[in-house]
């Protein structure tokens, strides 16, 4: 009983410490945001985009194709070709595009940022700047955080377009759906408003990805082995956070 109590006490403390650490990080980032370094933001966005775009494009195209292939059986047997466009569009906009974008970024960019921050601490770049009175939050952390979040949203929109185009190609090529019917079905059943939940999700995933990867970099031991540890922690934390957020938001939106 005592062992159980102390174990659960420790767990509660760990969770509270984790929540506290994220709250602290969020506070730091928000305070630094109005004065953040715009060039660092732009630099990170371009690096993040270039890094994650190929993976995002390939997964988006394959997912778009798969959604149609999976539904193809029903479409053919029930002859509901008018619904293919709607089905593919709905699934892609609401669920797959934000996931694809955030997962593509978490692998390459999130883990990369975590190990970069850990490396800057191990190599004494961050202590050196802090000793000189440089505001690290303003110069590095806030710009990178917002760059990661913005990249997820932009990549999610790109993933929307690419995946839907791939669905169209497969529907036309494999299922023989007339292109006009596919587009008409997309047009008739999907409103611009249908893109909103997906974008809200992408934004939420982006914020979680930014916070988890920076936190992993800041929490790792400030020595060479911390660099790999930060990348691993970042991956685990972001995947957990993104899937948990996905469940929560799917219920809400």
């Amino acid at each position: 009983m005592r062992a159980f109590l102390s174990a659960s006490g420790r767990l509660v403390l760990r969770v509270l410490r984790g929540v506290g650490a994220y709250a602290l990080l969020a506070g730091r980032l928000l305070i630094a945001t109005p004065r953040m370094d715009g060039r660092e933001w732009l630099r990170t966005v371009s690096i993040a985009g270039v890094d994650a775009l190929p993976l995002c494009l390939v997964t988006a195209a394959l997912t778009g194709a798969l959604v149609v292939i999976q539904t193809g059986f029903y479409v053919e047997s029930y002859g509901v070709t008018s619904l293919v466009g709607w089905g593919a569009g709905y699934a892609l906009f609401h669920e797959f595009a934000p996931l694809i974008a955030s997962l593509a970024l978490s692998g390459r960019v999130g883990a990369g940022q975590a190990s970069d921050i850990a490396g800057l601490r191990a190599g004494e770049q961050l202590p050196a700047l802090e000793a000189l009175g440089v505001d690290i939050d303003r110069a590095l952390l806030a710009p990178r955080f917002w760059a990661i979040a913005a990249s997820v949203v932009v990549l999610a929109v790109i993933a929307d377009v690419v995946a839907l185009s791939a669905s169209l190609l497969v529907a036309v090529g494999l299922l023989g759906v007339p292109p006009g019917a596919f587009l008409a079905s997309v047009h008739a059943s999907l409103r611009v408003a249908d893109a909103v939940p997906g974008i809200v999700k992408a934004a939420a995933f982006g914020l979680a990805l930014g916070a988890c990867s920076l936190r992993a970099g800041l929490a790792a031991p400030a020595e060479a082995r911390g660099v790999g540890a930060a990348a691993r922690r970042s991956l685990v934390a972001t995947l957990t956070a993104i899937l948990a957020l996905d469940m929560a938001l799917t219920g809400l939106l």
Binding site: D37, E40, R43, L120, G123, E124, Q125, P127, A128, L129, A131, L132, G133, V134, D135, R138, A139
Partner: protein, 226 residues
């Protein structure tokens, strides 16, 4: 006698399982140039990092009167500690963000350590080790805090460049602040310091007027002069 700016009273420091500093006590007046000398691993870097506030003593007390304000202290690290994502010029300008004419001041600081426009435009990874070291020095010279900590400022420089850099550092000394220079090769630094502390395996074996410390037999033997 000038007023005391920095005082260490029985300071010990642990680095991992090593005791890096044992019972260091000293008092340094405002405006002093302090040399911290000792062979590799004797605790010089640890002492400078304590002064920079990056670690705290495990025992004893470290007192500034008054403590340097934010940005009032700058340290040049033994490893150059530059950001690889920025050019050399941007690295130097980083602590100046928000100050007027930041880029001009940064350019001037690079020129003082002998680096021109072309070097300033390069990333640290595209520079030689000595050029990176000089960029790190320029960053502190540009910010010009009253308290300056230099860890092995001339390691890896050729003798001619070393003399130039030593002169630049001399001129950068702030008579109302403090300059602390650490080196495992004290010969060129003794005449440019007022006070010297000699460490051996974390133990302070000499502290006093630099000229006197330089003449001591045990100090000369430690650095292989006899």
């Amino acid at each position: 006698m000038a007023t005391t700016l920095l005082e260490l009273a029985g300071v010990w420091a642990a680095r991992g399982r090593t005791v890096a500093l044992r019972d260091v006590s000293l008092s340094v007046p405002r405006g002093a140039r302090l040399g911290v000398f000792g062979p590799g691993g004797s605790g010089k870097t640890t002492l400078l990092k304590l002064l920079a506030g990056l670690y705290h003593p495990s025992r004893g007390e470290l007192r500034w009167s008054p403590p340097p304000p934010p940005g009032g202290l700058g340290m040049v690290f033994q490893r150059d500690a530059l950001l690889d994502s920025l050019s050399a010029l941007e690295n130097v300008a980083l602590p100046l963000a928000g100050r007027p004419r930041a880029e001009i001041v940064a350019r001037e600081a690079l020129a003082r350590v002998g680096l021109g426009e072309d070097a300033g435009a390069k990333r640290p990874i595209e520079l030689s080790g000595g050029m990176r070291k000089r960029t790190g020095l320029a960053r502190v010279l540009a910010a010009n805090p009253p308290v300056k900590l230099f860890d092995e400022p001339t390691a890896g420089l050729d003798p001619a460049t070393e003399r130039e850099i030593l002169d630049v550092l001399d001129r950068a000394h702030d008579a109302s602040g403090l300059t602390v220079t650490a080196s495992a090769n004290p010969e060129p630094f003794f005449p440019r310091c007022d006070l010297a502390l000699v460490l051996s395996a974390g133990e302070p074996i000499a502290f006093g007027e630099a000229a006197e410390v330089a003449r001591r037999g045990d100090v000369r033997r430690l650095f292989g002069a006899e």
